[in-house]
Each structure stands twice: as structure tokens, then as C-alpha cells.
Symmetry: C2
Subunit: 414 residues, 2 copies
Amino acid sequence: MTAVMPTGVETARDLVGPALAAAVERLTPDVRKVAAYHLGLAGPEGAPPGTLAAADGRARGNGRARGNGRAAAGGRAGADGRAGADGRTGPDGRAGPDGRAGADGRAGPDGRAGADGRASGRRGRAPGAGKALRPALTLLSARAANAAPDRGVPAAVAVELVHNFSLLHDDIMDGDTERRHRPTAWTVYGTGAAILAGDAMLALAQDILLEDAAPSGVWAARALSAAVQRLIAGQGADLAFEQRDDVALPECLAMAGDKTAALMSCACSIGSIHVGGAPGLAMGLAAFGAHAGLAFQLTDDLLGIWGAPEVTGKPVRSDLRARKKSLPVVAALSAGTPEARELAALLAREEALSEDDLARAAGLVEAAGGKGWTEAEAATQLAAAHQCLADTDMPADVRAEFAGIAEFITARQW
Amino acid sequence: MTAVMPTGVETARDLVGPALAAAVERLTPDVRKVAAYHLGLAGPEGAPPGTLAAADGRARGNGRARGNGRAAAGGRAGADGRAGADGRTGPDGRAGPDGRAGADGRAGPDGRAGADGRASGRRGRAPGAGKALRPALTLLSARAANAAPDRGVPAAVAVELVHNFSLLHDDIMDGDTERRHRPTAWTVYGTGAAILAGDAMLALAQDILLEDAAPSGVWAARALSAAVQRLIAGQGADLAFEQRDDVALPECLAMAGDKTAALMSCACSIGSIHVGGAPGLAMGLAAFGAHAGLAFQLTDDLLGIWGAPEVTGKPVRSDLRARKKSLPVVAALSAGTPEARELAALLAREEALSEDDLARAAGLVEAAGGKGWTEAEAATQLAAAHQCLADTDMPADVRAEFAGIAEFITARQW
């Protein structure tokens, strides 16, 4: 089925885009350049001072990203043919030579950037424009507490900065060379500059919430801080899972809860917290966001195997090619069936997987029940999300918009 | 001359050490392990849950850091012979083959860890114990506002977390393989885990300040946030300077102000801010810390060229070997004399510098006035720091202790 992007996502882009650009203006020039590029607000050479905000968050890359002077001079990126920053192309053979990093489909939007990036792609938007899903949830969150949508803007900017800090650092760790159809920031500016820009965005996010002297600003900052710690724990688990062949389904779900659902939950509740909404409202919205976030990740993992390239922007079966411990795969491996054992043997093979291998692996995931379990679990989480909305007191139109976004992010095409 | 470590530094270790360990306990296990190792609270395999605080911050590495299973399994660190994580050993020839990274003396405590690390070394302390300089300043800062020293502990922990977040990320960016006489965290756990642990320490620092619901907690958090942004700007400038041969003295001083003095200034003022001291006091202490921090960096840069290895823990003339754009070097290069031109030519040579070259370079820095300028500037900054103390209202014993620390960090031996 084709999902239609809720209008709130468009509204959020218009409200939050300029505020995000204004926030980035506050960073020092070197750091700002990297952050603005990563956020899709500017090309690799940066925007002239004072123009980011005017660009209203829709400016696009200028296409000069590859082979620019910086990367060449520094010799840190791209040109030397190394796929990652962390030695993955080293002698351990985990990546690079066997085609499991870089050009093999791990590049491009990751699971977390997926829905929004793809949605914007289908609507023909600029690459930098696909970043309104979490802001939309945060503006709705403020409206749920009967505040005007624009009062949710600082919290929405903070959430978006944290989301992007995380993507920026993840790209380094994962050795990903492309995001939102552009070279990743570390390949353009070097690892050091990309680490620093992520650090700066994280610190800036907290500071934006604290500009509001009300006590609710502190609570919002602490809610964001808690989400950041879970985000980090989830990414750490994800990295650790790559080294293991015994990942169990509960820990895989916990990882998705940390890596994806925690920030989604924060996005859904922090707007109401920041405008001083009732604690019960914030808790209801946080629960909604946690379930919707898990449903989002489950859907994303299905797309990572069965998603059509024109929808996902990634090669078909890209997650299998990268041998990701995604939820359908782990569910299948846990089944204890002959198909599960064959799948385990296939994924444990030293050599790269052929297209036939990948098709076989996808069939085995399905035959071992991985696809069915994931679809059922996504439906369960979506239903739980809707139940949270029904149980939480808020204006009817706000509830309907939350519900629409939940449907949208879980009803993507494959 | 030999400087005697002020007793306040010892006191700070006893007060802040357990609180720092307790803060680290709050991180998730994978992240905690890396942070505890980096902070010198545990060996590479981590400490059993609940034992970090009991170790009171003095536990030492267990010596199994090199060649442990993790690094070997991940293949991300050390074993593959790559000095850095950012491609510095790549075809650009900036490091690695020419001996300018890793074993050449860039390893070990950097300028910022310098004074405390070295001081503790002279006193025969465990490697993890050399981290009480900034905490001592922060506890004094709380006392300056007539608060009991223990009320400054949360702010001291936050400053120490930020300092160590920065060191952890800097080690990755700089490709440094040793700190405080142990392998750096990224070489033990991999780049990804080290990036995440730094991120987590930064977010934790802010959260610790916000646990105090008083408005002063927010101001303290924002003061720290501002220092973090300057720290990041300074490190960014430092990275950028490596690519340039036209660094001017004012920008080099500005870089030192950002990279070193900003957090020192924060350490000196944030205690008083956090306990609700008068704004005038905080401003006076911030100014003191800024001057003392610059004096610290100027002294450290002198040690980087003329420091005795047994004092600095680094090979003699290590900063020249690494061709760092340190303040004495930039001052000398700016002199416009024949010696300055000879120095520029020497440092621009493609090949590695011999011991004779390094001795010649050190002589040229001195002949071109770089040593004299740096010594004079350090004295000027130290005098300005003392003037700030004199101009700021605080208990006499607190003022004397601040003065003692300022003397200590600028009167190191070489």
C-alpha cells in the first residue's frame, strides 16, 4: 500500500526548518559548516554567514560533495578507498574486500532515517527536506497540552539535533559513505571534524531547551538526556551484535527499543513536557511513541529485506547483504527449524553472498517465520500505540494526527 | 624549579573520585566499561557492577590492556598497525610511515592532561589518580561562594566528565595510542565504542547539573555547555592548523583559549554558579580561570619542546617531532628573522626529522624568540590571573588556594 504523508509533517518542516537553521548558526564556523552539510542545509563548502536561516531548511546540496578540496587535501576521506573510519577494512575481513561495506547497500539512509527520507523522496523533495517526522511529533506533543504549535519548536529542534548527532556519529562507526543520496559528512570533512560536529549538535540540543528558564525546560532537557543515553546504548548493542552469532530476539528487541523507540518516545512527549503539560499526558505520549517507534523499526527491518529499491533507496535485500542482525533475521534464526539452521549456515559463510544466495536467504527468513513474526509484532505495536492514544486525554484533532503519523510510518510500501 | 602539588588537589580527589565513579555507574554496561577504563577506574575488562564507587577513583589498570580479546576480535584497533582512526596513515603521508603518529611521542598525556598527569606521576600515584586539578578548582569555586566544599562536587564531576569526554574523542581524532601510560580507549574497545562512551559522558555531565532543581543548576549547565562549544571549536581549529603552514599567533592563542582555557575558566566559576553565588564572583573566577588556563597551555607548550622526559612522560622535543603548531613554534615562525625562515624550512621537510634536526629546531625556536615570548606571555597571563583573584571578593584562604594552584600549574619543571 502507499502511505500518504500527513499534513502535520509538512507543517513541521515549515515551522522547525528555519529554527533548526538558526540554531546551527550559533555554532562556530568550522563546526557549523559540517553540521549544516549533514543536515542538508548547505553544500560541502557551507553557506555564507547569516544565510542558513533564510534558506528555511530546504536548501539542497550543491552537488560538489565528492572530490572537493578538503577531502583531497586532508587525505582522510574517500580518496584512499577505505570504506570506514574504524578499521573495518582492515585485516579482519569483515568489510571492504568482501563488499559488505560502502557500495553494497549499507550506504544511504539507515533504518532510522528511512521513513522520512523515503517519504520526501517520493514527493520529489530536496534531499535535505526529509527531516520532519520527529519534529512533527514534537509539535503535536505541544498541541496535546493545548499549547500553540510554535511553542513546541525549541523542543522539536532539540530532538532533531539529537537525531542528527546520532546519525552523524553512526555513519563514522558504521563506515557508511552515503546518506540521503549525498556523501556522508565524515567522507567530506574527515572523521575528526565529523566527530566534533556531532558533539557540538548534542551539546547545542541541551542548551536550546535550557534557554527557557521555566522548570519545564529542565525536565525537557533531562528527558532528552535520558533518550540520548538509550540511543547510545542501542547503538553500542548494535555494534556489539555484529561480532556475535548468538543474538537472541529479546535483546534484539531491546536494542531496537533503545536505538529507535527511545528518541521517538521522547519526540512524542517532550513537547508537552516543555510547555508544562500534565505528567500523565507526557507519560501517555511517551508510551505511544515507544510503541510507534518499535513498529517503525520492525517495518524498517521488513523493508531492509523485502523493500523495493525505488521505495527504500537501497538495493534489494540490503540488510541481508550486510548480514545485519535485523529483527526478521533474528526471529528466523531463533525458530529452531531446518530453515533456521540453513539460514544460519548461509549467513556464517566467509565469502560474499551472491544474488541467488540473498534470494535464498530471504526465502529462508520467511520460511522460518521471521517475516510473519515481524509483521505480527509490528501490528501488535501499532495497536498498542493506538491504545495509548485512546487512553490519554488530549484534543481530538491532535489524537487523530498522532494516529495518522503512526499509520504512515508503519504502512510503507514493499 | 619543582612545584609542590597544593593540598586542595588531594582533597578534591578524595571528594570527587567516588562521586565520579558513582556517576559512571549510571551508564549502561557497555558504555560504562569504556568510560571507566578511560577514567582509570577499571581495567579493560571493566569492574564488577557496584564496585566502581567503592574503588574511590584510585583503582588502576590491570595491565591487560594490550592484546585483549576485544581488540583482537574486532580487528579495529592496534593490531593492524594503523596509528589513527581517521585515515592519517593513508597515502597523504602525514603520519605513520614518517613516525609522526603513535610511537613518536604524540602518545601519552596530551597538553591538557599534562600537569595533573605528570604531577601524579612524580608522586608515584596510580595512573587513574591524576585527574584532580579541575575538580580542585571547582570545589574551591563553591567555597568561594561560602558553600561547603562538598556542595561543589556535582559541578566538579560534570567538569571532569566533559574534560574526559574531550580527551576520549581527541585521542580518536589525533590517532593517539597511549594516554596516562595506558593504551587509549579506542585502541582497546574500537573507535565506535569510544565515540559512544564520549557521547555518553558529555550527556551525563549535563544531566548531573540538572539534577539540582534550583535555577542555578540550569545556569551551571549552560555555562558548561558554552565551555563545551569552545572546547569543540578549539579542537577543530587545532585539527585545521595541522593542514596549514600560515597559522598566525593571534589565532593560535585563540585556539589555546578555546581548547584549554575555556574549560579551565568554567571549572573555576561553575562551582560558585551551581551553589548560587553572586554573578560578580562567577565572572571574576571565570576571568581568573581563563588567564590561568592560558598560562597552563603556554607552560605546557614549553614543556613539549624543552621538558625533561622524566617530567613530561614524553620523549624530549616531542611537539617538534610531531611538528605541532604550538605557541613557541608559531611565535618563532612569526618573527620574520633568518632563524624563523630556517625553522619554517626545517618543519616543512617531507622526511622525518633526526635527533640533530630536532635539536637544531629547538635552538631555532629559541633564537627566533619563540621561547622568550612564550615565557613572557605565560608570566603575563599568570600575573593577570593573580590580579583577577585580588579584584574578586572571596574568603582569603580560598583566594590563597586558587593562587597556589595557578602557581603550581605554571611552575612545572623542565
